[in-house]
Symmetry: C2
Subunit: 396 residues, 2 copies
């Protein structure tokens, strides 16, 4: 059965562009070569920009490549890399697209073509011998370079053919075209990976900064050590439980928005005088009115961030009550945004169970009893249900 190289190349190249993981891409290319093209084994050496080295990435086939463990990285000084990075290799080999071990052997004895080590950019016998050695070590009978804009991106290493015959010109041309397409696809995939990494890193930086922002209040309010983190954790756990027991359907983004709201819910307290914030006795009515402003001040402070609606609602409305007697908006029942209703339970639970200098925290049992008692008045029953479930399962 004759192999239609043109068709194989088209099929292979088509798929390559859309694979954005370099390692998976190489795996697929090498697998295709071994399965379809009657080569015993194949491998690829890939340039990895972040390590500034050529790395043997994968080897497939019945024999595999005889490479000592650890000997899988090649610097620019490695013979096989040097020879492909030198333009001279092309006219000196018998094939413009590849180095074949049989050609090297011929060249080594062809004193009139290669110089004897006197430089001038020509291939030396010494270098060719080293390339030959390296190819034997890699168990490769042919090496096909892949360039992208004159930069050596990869080297395709080919083992023997199953029928033991020589590589024909048509086959080598095919491998050269394949390697060239692969080099571009690999470069594309590497750029994708870099960009993805950058996006992820920037996202992580944003969330970490939100965390630091949320924790600033703890530097000021001595009595809330760890409060922000715990309220955030409880809130997300409550939402997950509500989704699990079927009482709510949240899109995945809801959890991140709630997480942000949890971290920032008390940020407005930065603007409240310490004398009120850290007062050990009961607040006067006037002081309480100032204290209540932390919800609205919080939203004002984070305004430049254009946070998602659910995050802002969590910050502004986490002191609303189910019966409408909360602040700042006096929302009632279902009108209280769900993120805020969840945080109200989490916030109260943590406030009740935490020690204060002037009083010891309640036990979890007592706090849960209080939350159950306030179901339908202070708290949304749907959230209380999830809270009781978490508590019963020992998760709260």
């Amino acid at each position: 059965m004759k192999i239609d190289y043109k068709k194989e190349l088209e099929t292979a190249s088509k798929g390559m562009i859309m694979i954005h993981e370099p390692k998976l891409l190489i795996k697929l290319i090498v697998r295709m070569i071994v399965r379809k093209l009657r080569v015993k084994h194949a491998a690829m050496i890939l340039f990895e920009p972040r390590r500034n080295a050529y790395v043997l990435n994968i080897s497939r086939g019945e024999l595999g490549v005889k490479v000592p463990a650890g000997f899988t990285r090649f610097t620019g000084e490695s013979p096989i890399i040097r020879v492909f990075n030198r333009r001279e290799f092309r006219p000196l080999t018998f094939n413009p697209n590849a180095i074949l071990s049989e050609d090297i052997n011929r060249l080594i004895w062809h004193e009139s073509i290669i110089s004897n080590g006197n430089g001038n950019g020509k291939l030396t016998k010494e270098l060719l011998c080293k390339v030959d050695e390296q190819m034997q070590m890699l168990n490769a009978v042919a090496c096909v370079p892949a360039y992208y804009r004159h930069k050596l991106m990869a080297i395709l290493l080919l083992g023997e053919k199953h029928d033991g015959s020589r590589f024909e010109q048509e086959e080598l041309d095919f491998f050269a075209a394949l390697a060239s397409d692969a080099a571009m696809a690999i470069r594309n995939a590497q750029l994708f990976e870099d960009l993805k990494r950058e996006a992820d890193r920037n996202r992580a930086l944003f969330l970490q900064t939100i965390e630091v922002l949320g924790s600033t209040i703890e530097a000021k309010d001595a009595y809330t050590h760890g409060h922000t983190g715990r309220v955030t954790e409880y809130s997300v756990a409550l939402a997950r439980q509500m989704a699990a027991n079927g009482s709510a359907h949240f899109p995945e983004v809801f959890f991140e928005n709630l997480y942000i709201a949890g971290l920032l819910h008390d940020i407005g307290k930065i603007a409240i005088p310490e004398s009120i914030l850290n007062k050990q006795g009961k607040l006067t009515d006037a002081e309480y009115e100032i204290m209540k402003q932390h919800t609205v001040r919080g939203v004002e402070m984070v305004a430049p961030l254009s946070l998602p609606k659910e995050s802002l609602e969590g910050i502004r409305n986490h002191h609303e009550r189910f019966d409408g007697r909360g602040y700042p908006d006096g929302f009632k029942g279902e009108a209280v945004p769900m993120s805020a209703a969840i945080m109200a339970v989490a916030d109260t639970f943590d406030a009740m169970t935490s020690d204060r200098p002037y009083r010891k925290g309640l036990s979890k049992e007592a706090a849960m009893e209080e939350i159950r008692r306030c179901c339908g008045t202070q708290f949304n029953p749907v959230v209380v249900k999830a809270m009781l479930e978490l508590y019963e399962h020992g998760k709260m």
Copy 2:
């Protein structure tokens, strides 16, 4: 001169993958068609996922496309989109890869092939007439669809050939292959754009959050309104001036790191009691010791962010002095990190020129005089030089 379609396709496809702006990509493809392939004009309709619509992106050539302004978007209900989204079009046209206006005209009168509007997924005469109308409006004699995984990604619109001849099969096959490669390259470019946008958005979110974080101190320290922003602005201006006058060579990232340092330089003051922070008289020695801790506390607060070295140095060391008598580390001369040395000048200048409840701010002239006086003792002369230049140029 015969056109080597295979070669043209290879050349075109190779370049396409690495162009990551969809619009530029289409421009290049369309230009190539018009220039090399003897077509009077060409255009491309591209699916834009974010608008969920097909949009006429570009039109090239001597005649252009006769499209009324505003009629450049096509929904899935548009005849030309409908016909390519229906599998039936293939066997019904005379060419498997394209719709030609001459074929449509033949089909419209070919009652035995098309149904007369009784549905069943067949092309109706009515739909074909509308497609014909649309192609006339677009001045296209051939439409070539490009699919990616069965999704219609784009339609290539071709005008007449320069010699007025029909499109040959070889040409249509070429355009189909080109359109197919283009569809994949366009999809790749769209994914790149999406990812780039995400990375940029996340970076902006991070920097905005840093800004909010920096401004929290102003919610507490009533006398520093706008101080953080001004110190940041002055610092970056000083660094730019130092680069401009040749006294320093900063990599571009230095300016962003300095910007972050400026925004966060006083963040540690959050941890300083208001009674000290807002005291109107002179601080006692004990109070001053506590106040000085804001540098170290600031670095502690932002530790989770793993900020760049220069940002951290700016926060920690912006109260160092050139003569070594500053805090917290008592660094001297060149040992004071440059970001901190720059911020020291910016911070002092803003503190001197700002009003306080108990005193009016100095004039800029008087403040500059003071900075000049402290050159070499409190301040690094290189920074003072830049400051004087900015002031002389009316930029400070």
